[in-house]
């Protein structure tokens, strides 16, 4: 793997000068780094052409067995995931969800990596991995509970080997590492994958997960979706070197893949998972992609980024490129797209109806599962809560004010 020269060196501060608000402070520049961007592993160009070169040959063999049917499957996954996501965004606007974190633009990174996994692999997502959840067979409506505000999770992580969404940035990379350490101890040949963002790469937890996974040779794949932004902060505010190069300092390989190329994401993730299974330890995959929408429905990207940027990425749309390839290679017919369109509509309808039908949680849910073994204080507070609730019933039943309790 080539190592790019890092950002320009800075002169050391001249002795005695105190940086301050005097305007003499050295400015930090992120000059011309873009020009030195490393090459991506890419198997499909934005125009939908297969790429064959020396750099990607090593990875291309991992998708040599992919049939036209598999390709249609990947396409279907991406289209349905996008449709689900669009529906969720619309539901948020209609007030049915409190918040939504859209994956728009990141479908290839998620479906490519998600479809590389085996059932017995274990996934540790962040909060935007709706496409990976789809690949794991988690019913998409289950993802909506926490965004609607009816639960703080919504599924059994062990049901599909898909852990709960993690909102605290980077935390889950350590859980993935520990889980992978357990897998290795058990002598199992499954692998673990942890998803996180470019912003998260700055967190201490992520650095510590790199250290632990390297030291214990844990079978874990770190899948960083570099979607260029951490809310309003561009990747330059997190790192001065391309993110995948971080791995080198910890002693394991890192690779940057075109995150809008589903085939390349599938290939590179399979390669990394194979390394993990073969006892070769962790890998960092940086999927270079773009968050086409807002960070979440609460965010206003017009405050910090230019429209042209999004437009330039629209030209690299992950779904469009696979469609072009499928069409050019006669792997589909009109019927396929029409059927998929109908399937999308049905999914949208199902999601809409499911969300609207989602009941508010029972108020006593507050006290459920606080402990596995129970706890006297929780029992006491639940009882007080029940008595308090009952006092309203008494009030309205009898038309009298409830007498003061608590004596």
């Amino acid at each position: 793997m080539t190592v790019e020269s890092t950002a320009a060196r800075k002169p050391r501060r001249s002795a005695g000068s105190k940086a301050g608000a005097t305007g003499t402070e050295r400015t930090t520049r992120t000059t011309a780094r873009k020009a030195a961007e490393p090459e991506l592993v890419q198997l499909l160009t934005p125009e939908g052409k297969r790429v064959k070169n020396a750099k990607n040959a090593e990875y291309a063999k991992y998708v040599a067995d992919v049939t036209p049917e598999d390709l249609r499957g990947l396409y279907r996954d991406m289209v349905l995931t996008r449709r689900f996501d669009a529906e969720a965004t619309a539901l948020q606007r209609q007030g049915e969800l409190g918040l939504w974190a859209s994956l728009l633009g990141q479908e290839a990174a998620q479906i490519g990596s998600g479809r590389a996994l085996r059932d017995d692999d274990y996934v540790f997502p962040t909060y935007r991995e709706h496409g990976v959840a789809w690949c794991r067979g988690v019913d998409p409506t289950n993802l909506l509970g926490m965004f609607r505000g009816v639960n703080n999770g919504g599924w059994d992580p062990n049901g599909n080997n898909f852990h709960l969404y993690t909102i605290v940035i980077g935390s889950q990379t350590l859980h993935a590492t520990g889980y992978a350490m357990g897998v290795a101890k058990d002598g199992a040949d499954s692998a673990v994958i942890a998803y996180f963002g470019d912003g998260a790469s700055s967190q201490g937890d992520v650095a510590e997960s790199f250290t632990f996974s390297a030291v214990y040779n844990a079978p874990v794949v770190f899948f960083c979706q570099n979607n260029q932004w951490a809310i309003s902060e561009p990747t330059e505010k997190q790192t001065r070197v391309p993110l995948y190069q971080r791995a080198q300092g910890y002693g394991f390989p890192g690779v940057r893949v075109d995150g809008n190329d589903v085939l390349a994401c599938l290939a590179v993730t399979r390669w990394a998972l194979d390394r993990a299974r073969d006892g070769e330890g962790p890998t960092l995959v940086e999927a270079y992609t773009y968050r086409m929408g807002a960070h979440t429905t609460s965010d206003d990207p017009t405050k910090y980024r230019a429209d042209e940027e999004r437009e330039s990425w629209e030209a690299k749309d992950p779904i469009l490129r696979l469609r072009r390839y499928l069409e050019a290679s006669n792997h589909t017919d009109e019927g396929f797209f029409a059927e998929l369109e109908a399937e999308s509509e049905a999914l949208g309808k199902r999601v809409r109806e499911a969300v609207r039908a989602m009941p508010d949680p029972d108020r006593f849910a507050i006290f459920e599962n606080v402990y596995a073994d129970g706890h006297a204080l929780v029992d006491e507070e639940r009882a007080q809560f029940a008595a308090y609730q009952a006092s309203f019933a008494t009030e309205s039943d009898s038309g009298l004010a409830a007498g003061p309790g608590g004596k």
Binding site: N152, A200, G204, E233, P361, L377, V378, Y388, G406
Partner: protein, 330 residues
Amino acid sequence: MAESVTAKNLALAKAINESLRRALETDPKVLIMGEDVGKLGGVFRVTDGLQKDFGESRVIDTPLAESGIVGTAIGLALRGYRPVVEIQFDGFVFPAYDQIVTQLAKMHARSLGKVKLPVVVRIPYGGGIGAVEHHSESPEALFAHVSGLKIVSPSNASDAYWMMQQAIQSDDPVIFFEPKRRYWDKGEVDTEAIPGPLHKAQVVREGTDLTLVAYGPMVKLCQEVAAAAAEEGKNLEVLDLRSVSPLDFDSIQASVEKTRRLVVVHEAPVFFGSGAEIAARITERCFYHLEAPVLRVGGYHAPYPPARLEEEYLPGLDRVLDAVDRALAY
């Protein structure tokens, strides 16, 4: 407050914004640091426009790392700066908790007073905005238990403005809890006024029958409670603590000696919360004045619930009135 040419009607968030602006203008050593505080102006827009006017070297977008934010703020303070750092939401302060508790809080004592750490850690806190998990918590007691930290929380725009000035000027680290659900509440701010001491509680409503003590987001609720109780002929006093550490026990004591009953209201879980400390000390100080045990209203010993249950979890008008009735029934 008397009519003043310098008084403005500002939302609480905007009052903090103007206070930060004033601090940046008057002291070149003041720095703003945090995630998204620059162009975006913070997720709540509290730092809106500051980077535009003071530049990237004074208003600094940091990498996404809270331990890094507080740890480097400590270093900057050691070098003579006065950093004001923003933690995006309450639940995200914990990666920085180690730096705050083991370093920020203790360096002054360890250096035999030679080192001062004038760092302000701003934390939007509390619930009531329908957010997802980790966005609605009230962790003030976790910080109040640590010596070396000062902890304050304004309840209105004027206090937000002035307490921020005072927090920045303080040579001690201050954890500045901002009641996020009150960010949009407007109030009069007199930017030329002479503010009272940072850690002094304030009687915001005089009363004779019972004292309600609160801070931050719960002050407004307690004022509403007092208004509702007044309709039933009950005359409640409301005390806005403003500061959780140090805590102005003298003001609470004075009020309790007058009203003889005390109810403490906060959003944080009651168990081992700031209400427990208040109840214990006021019982020691006012044992013979009290007509009823000190009662507390707050969160349960349970994780902050999903948004659709937060109204059940958070102290509301009825729950506080219920406690008031119970205290008065003794």
